[in-house]
């Protein structure tokens, strides 16, 4: 009890210095937590993707389409329950910064394999009836304020021209994990245009999304599909939807690794600050430590004193950081992140790492002062002036 009291009194004796150190710790740990969350958010889309749906694309690269007649051939393969077309439209609404994904799909077969998207029956009927109709996800609708009945102009970059769509339905996600940030419209609307203007580009699919009746057969079905088209004009590459979406994340892997690496530098920075605080504290109190030793306390006691003080300051900083990180993450997400990320949740592992980092900083910062003060000769210590 006496020991704890002594540590506590010591820790907050130089109030300004301790407060600044704690503040620095909080800032650094929160920054670390946010960066880790950014890294996690990058993978969130892929985690929501299904491992039981397949995506078939041209094996050369996504830039090349697949002929539409592949659809019937794929449907005939054993184990395939449904096939839908999906074309990346890549248009620009308002400006480049207000980005969202648009897909031309055959809506009835597409949404039949996405039970996680919920439509209102009347809106669904309106969507099917309107050739220029579009379905907008709830998160996307909230982000840019799309309402049913809106006319949305989009400038095509891959498919030239100024396109206009009518928002006919806004679909909800089945649960919180479902990402509803997409914009879907009728494949036929796009294809009719292509037939007139660029007949060679018509009747093509960007990718086929395939529903497999038994999740255990996914790998077999994928192999069968690729074997079927191996020697045709457009060879295919079939992978699970999850692998497909992870391949996009993999493209910016380097950047994610850099962010992750940099997040540890901030811990190093704050370690330097905390170590400095402890070094100065110990130096100023050298004569006190000598006094303690003269009174009969061993070098271990002095070392424990410094260690406990350092860890206590770090613990206070760590506790505050862990308490405020989720709130700050949410604020950051509301203010800036919604156009970039679908989800921005602080993972429990991130909070645990923050706690661990705080302890490590506290413990390591005490190291040099501990050794120095424990070994100081009583005479030298008493003679020492701050």
């Amino acid at each position: 009890m006496f020991f704890l009291k002594l540590v506590l009194r010591n820790a907050f004796r130089a109030r300004l210095r301790s407060a600044l150190t704690v503040l620095g710790l909080v800032i650094a740990l929160v920054a670390f937590g946010l960066l880790q969350t950014v890294v996690g958010a990058w993978y969130a889309g892929s985690e929501a993707a299904s491992a039981s749906r397949l995506v078939t694309r041209n094996s050369i690269s996504l830039v090349f389409p697949l002929p539409m007649y592949y659809r019937e051939k794929i449907l005939a393969i054993d184990g395939v329950r449904g096939v839908a077309v999906s074309n990346w439209f890549g248009g620009v609404w308002r400006d480049e910064k207000s980005f969202f994904a648009q897909f031309a799909t055959d809506l009835p077969s597409y949404f039949a394999m996405y039970p996680e998207f919920k439509f209102r029956p009347d809106e669904w009927q309106d969507l099917l009836r309107d050739r220029e109709g579009a379905a907008v996800g709830r998160q996307l609708a909230d982000l840019y304020g799309f309402k049913v009945g809106d006319r949305v102009p989009i400038r095509g970059t891959i498919y030239p021209g100024n396109w206009e769509f009518n928002v006919r339905a806004i679909y909800e996600g089945r649960d919180d994990a479902t990402i509803t940030r997409q914009f879907y419209f009728h494949y036929d609307y796009l294809n009719e245009f292509l037939k007139q203007r660029f007949p060679r580009a018509a009747d093509n699919a960007g990718v086929f999304v395939i529903d497999v009746d038994d999740p255990a057969k996914v790998a077999d079905v994928a192999r069968t599909i690729d074997a079927e088209f191996a020697n045709s004009l457009a060879a295919t590459l079939t992978e699970t939807e999850k692998a497909f979406s992870l391949s996009f994340v993999a493209m910016v892997d380097t950047i994610i690794q850099v962010i992750s690496g940099v997040s540890f530098i901030v811990i190093l920075i704050i370690f330097a600050v905390a170590a400095n605080t402890m070094a100065m504290t110990a130096r100023e109190r050298l004569s006190e430590y000598a006094t303690l030793k003269a009174l009969g306390f061993g070098p271990g006691f002095v070392a424990r004193l410094i260690f406990s003080e350092s860890v206590m300051i770090a613990a206070v900083g760590g506790a505050i950081a862990i308490a405020v990180t989720p709130g700050i993450a949410q604020g950051f997400f509301n203010a800036l992140g919604k156009t970039v990320f679908a989800r921005f949740d602080v993972a429990p592992a991130t909070l645990a790492t923050q706690a661990l980092a705080a302890f490590a900083v506290g413990a390591l910062a005490a190291l040099v002062p501990m050794v120095r003060s424990a070994h100081v000769k009583i005479v030298d210590g008493l003679r020492h002036v701050g």
Binding site: R17, L23, S61, G90, E96, V266, N276
Partner: protein, 389 residues
């Protein structure tokens, strides 16, 4: 009267551990700051150097990249006849009609696939890029299924060694050479014969882009005017340099935005470190401050002395961070460029502007961190300060 600089510098030397730790924190911040700016500069340098001054590039209106674009054969022929396009000694237009597609290849280190641009070029296309040199093997024979790969592609991807062949578009393409494009975006590409690639990829409709040399740098305005008066042409023209600079915009914006945000947040930690050090520096020398004031040094001299101490501390940190960052120049980063949707390799590039900015950034940290402690020191009353010890 000014307080001697050696007094200021020695204060830092006496408390070496503290100085090293505080300057070390700042060095880390400056390192991050400089690294990100160097990455951005390297990206820009790579893309800007890809274009040549006299070359222009025609793409379909509204297309952002060559891969998205399509220029019909009749349009390409019209372009060739424009008066601002240079001609060689035999009167042929210095124009290269090219096909650019993306092919996903597996990377050596991760096994993951990434998009590599495959460019079909003509003999004239090679002449228009004199900075591209074959460093291994030979160039592809026109009319054959041969390809040459850029130096970065050769380093990073599986199956593109000399003599190996890639299977795509129902053909085997043999790698017969490796070219060095002098650290430009072409290093991240694979080149082959334009007509062969167009056939294999069944691009009968036309080309992706048309690259042309102007009669002179200043002919561009006349070219724009001519284009506006030619309703049959539905293409857009950009200077080649401008085109590649535009390709860097999204990724460069992302990198610098991220970098500046991180540097500012990280710098808070280092500024707090500097403030702690300086406060303690003031506290332990209260008696000295009293003595200096009693000797006749003015408040302003005390203020300046402590500010200089903090700035010197920051300068040491800043230079250390910058020094560490210079070693990054040996590294090359490779990532997907958002705009072109393809892999692009680029290095960290240190520019004089980055050096200046990094030092300025460090000094600002020192100034902010040392400001309040210096004010506190200058406001001390002589009697109180002398009595403090």
């Amino acid at each position: 009267m000014r307080i001697p600089f050696s007094y200021i510098a020695r204060n830092l030397w006496v408390r070496r551990l503290t100085t090293v730790l505080t300057a070390g924190g700042m060095a880390l911040v400056v390192f991050v700051f400089a690294a990100v700016m160097m990455l951005d500069a390297g990206l820009k340098a790579t893309l800007v150097a890809t274009g040549s001054d006299d070359n222009v590039l025609f793409i379909r209106k509204g297309a952002e990249t060559e891969v998205q674009s399509g220029v019909a054969r009749d349009q390409a022929a019209l372009i060739e006849s424009l008066p601002q396009i240079a001609r060689d000694e035999r009167g042929a237009a210095r124009v290269s009609k090219e096909v650019v597609v993306l092919n996903s290849l597996a990377k050596i280190d991760s096994g993951k696939r990434s998009n590599v641009p495959i460019r079909g070029v003509t003999a004239m296309g090679l002449a228009l890029r004199p900075h591209v040199k074959i460093v291994q093997g030979r160039t592809f024979r026109p009319g054959s299924s041969e390809i040459v790969v850029g130096a970065s592609v050769a380093r990073q991807f599986v199956g593109v060694e000399l003599g190996q062949s890639l299977a795509f578009a129902q053909r085997q393409w043999t790698v017969v050479g490796v070219f060095d494009a002098g650290r430009t975006a072409f290093d991240s590409e694979i080149w082959g014969d334009a007509e062969q690639l167009a056939q294999a990829f069944r691009r009968f409709g036309g080309y992706s882009s048309v690259i042309a040399q102007l009669t002179s740098y200043d002919a561009f305005d006349a070219l724009l005017e001519g284009l506006a008066n030619e309703p049959r042409l539905t293409v857009e023209v950009k200077r080649e340099r401008q085109f590649y600079e535009d390709q860097s915009r999204a990724l460069s914006g992302f990198i610098s935005y991220l970098g500046i945000t991180l540097s500012i947040i990280f710098s808070l930690g280092a500024v707090i470190g500097a403030a702690i050090t300086m406060y303690s520096s003031v506290a332990t020398r209260t008696g000295e401050i009293g003595t200096l004031r009693a000797l006749g040094f003015r408040r302003r001299s005390i203020l300046t002395a402590f500010l200089l101490e903090s700035l010197l501390l920051a300068l040491v940190g800043g230079l250390a961070g910058l020094f560490a960052a210079t070693f990054l120049q040996a590294f090359t980063i490779s990532t997907t460029n958002f705009t072109s949707f393809s892999e692009l390799a680029f290095s960290f590039a240190l520019t004089p502007k980055i050096i200046l900015n990094s030092v300025a950034f460090a000094l600002v940290m020192g100034l902010i961190g040392g400001f309040l402690p210096a004010i506190k020191a200058s406001r001390m009353k002589i009697v109180d300060a002398l009595r403090a010890d």
